[in-house]
Chain length 376, copies 2
Amino acid sequence: MSTSDAPALDPTAPIADLTAAIVDIESVSGNERALADAIEQTLLHRAPHLEVLRDGDTVIARTDRGLPQRVLLAGHLDTVPLAGNLPSRRRVREGREELWGRGSCDMKGGVAVLLALAVEADAAPMDLTWIFYDHEEVAAADNSLTRLAAERPKLLEADFAILGEPTSAGVEGGCKGTMKLEVTARGIAAHSARDWVGDNAIHHLAPVLERLAAYEARRAVIDGLEYRECLNAVAISGGIAGNVIPDRASATLNYRFAPDTSVEQAEAHVREVLAGLDLDIEVTDAAPGALPGLDTAPARAFLAALGADVPVAAKQGWTDVSRFAALGTPAVNFGPGDPLLAHTDDEHVPVADLEAALAGLRRFLAPSAPATTLDA
Amino acid sequence: MSTSDAPALDPTAPIADLTAAIVDIESVSGNERALADAIEQTLLHRAPHLEVLRDGDTVIARTDRGLPQRVLLAGHLDTVPLAGNLPSRRRVREGREELWGRGSCDMKGGVAVLLALAVEADAAPMDLTWIFYDHEEVAAADNSLTRLAAERPKLLEADFAILGEPTSAGVEGGCKGTMKLEVTARGIAAHSARDWVGDNAIHHLAPVLERLAAYEARRAVIDGLEYRECLNAVAISGGIAGNVIPDRASATLNYRFAPDTSVEQAEAHVREVLAGLDLDIEVTDAAPGALPGLDTAPARAFLAALGADVPVAAKQGWTDVSRFAALGTPAVNFGPGDPLLAHTDDEHVPVADLEAALAGLRRFLAPSAPATTLDA
């Protein structure tokens, strides 16, 4: 247990204030320590009903009241790199109050909601596991849930899981899979004043970019939810010196595939798209999607607590919902913020979303809710 | 004047040994100091007939005997980056003795020949200026001759100039111009799982690479010499993070144009090649070519000293011959090494080339040569 001073965060502050405080602790992937410290201190000082564990820059907090059901609620602490969008700002646009800044949408709004409820929900009708984890916005292999699943799998056991990823406070089922591939073209180096004795590797990437630019992505409808696939170059590099024809150039491709497609099928598809080109193709990262699990009993109970007005859709972005699906745990995405704004320079979250997500989860965790709801 | 110890180089050693010693002093652009020090010390200790000046990492050595003609002989000290090709190695291939290693061809063989003759030629029939300079293999603006021309133009004055760039010990007239352009495509950043709300800037480079790959370069014949143009992407970059559609991607283009084309015409041509594409195009570096000056009197005298068997061709690579052409000084390229090997991983120089270049220049600078040859 820590001997640190008072926690840095006030979990009982208005939810927009708590979110702003969390956004303003910069935590680009790899730099989550300060935020993890603040979360840990807050829980240690303000949530005596929880057992608080620290694993690297992941904070786990649990009740253990011997209740028949356990629900896991999780959110990641890290963000993509900054784009001049810190510190956060409050603003009003078209009559709507918003919080703007890197991570406000993906997913510090969700982290704030989870933190507030972790402190508040000391008498929920089920046991609760709260996980605040690091390294989500990077290679799946570096994600702390990968380590936890391998080293401390008991901590991830639950009957139902809710991930606080942005869904505009609606429910998004399942998620697409994701794969990264390194595509490398080879050539022959030469002086750039005598290119006829060389072979320009950068020019060999022309048909790769052409095919990506012309690519028509599949739209898969599963359980009534539409998953739109995406295939993109997310990085490209090549060049030795300003007067050298380069003998090597490469592009990093990211394929987001519908959850009815396996990792193996996804790789075969990308290789088919690039068929006939003289390239080295290597898969460097892959994670399967998750089929929507909305017809399971715990998911139906959660939907009932939220009410009939809450929209239900497909999750387009890969989320750790797929890890729980792989463990056999029904899991949904539910959090404040428009997922279309994630990773953009104009990332922001409506204050109304923060309040709606907080209110919805509060109903689900309220002591008055009968524990048997989960068996409905 | 330096108080340093004995010079690091033996200018009277066999020319292949002297070249190897110079190759083994690594001098990738920006790291020329150690080699400049060695050259300076060698001249200070072994060439009392020369005035030795130091300007940054450039070494200038001059006679001032009041002779009616002055010939300038120059070579650059720097190389392109290493490719695992240091230290140098001697080898025999197909019965031919070679020295292999970064810079052996471009242009430390020429530097060795110039250094040996600077020490030896103390009674030439003309005054001599020797220049060993830095930063040739980078942007023209960083080339030390740019600084010398601006700040100490008197040092560059001459009636004829010989650059020791690799020509296989033949004479290469003029040189092509060179231009670098930064070509940037813009898009809209988004999460890579939802590409339909973004616009991938990397994909916008597809038509740029397509046009470069399909480009048919002009061959210009001037004064009987053929200059082959080249247009290439020498670098490409783009990408923010592995799960972000990038809003910016760029390529560095290098255009090598025939000496009948001005810098302005060259820029207009590249813009025409890329016409209709939504790109930012910026010229970041440019240097004009030089028309062949072989019909001038000093050039004819030099050719006569070399003999009728010496091949004469167009210079494909941009060289500082164009700086002298711009000052009105006839200038030729003449040095050991096959220019096709410059910048390649297998860079090497035949020992026979070193000896031929040394012998040819020695005849031109011999005391027995009548000074009036230059007026032939």
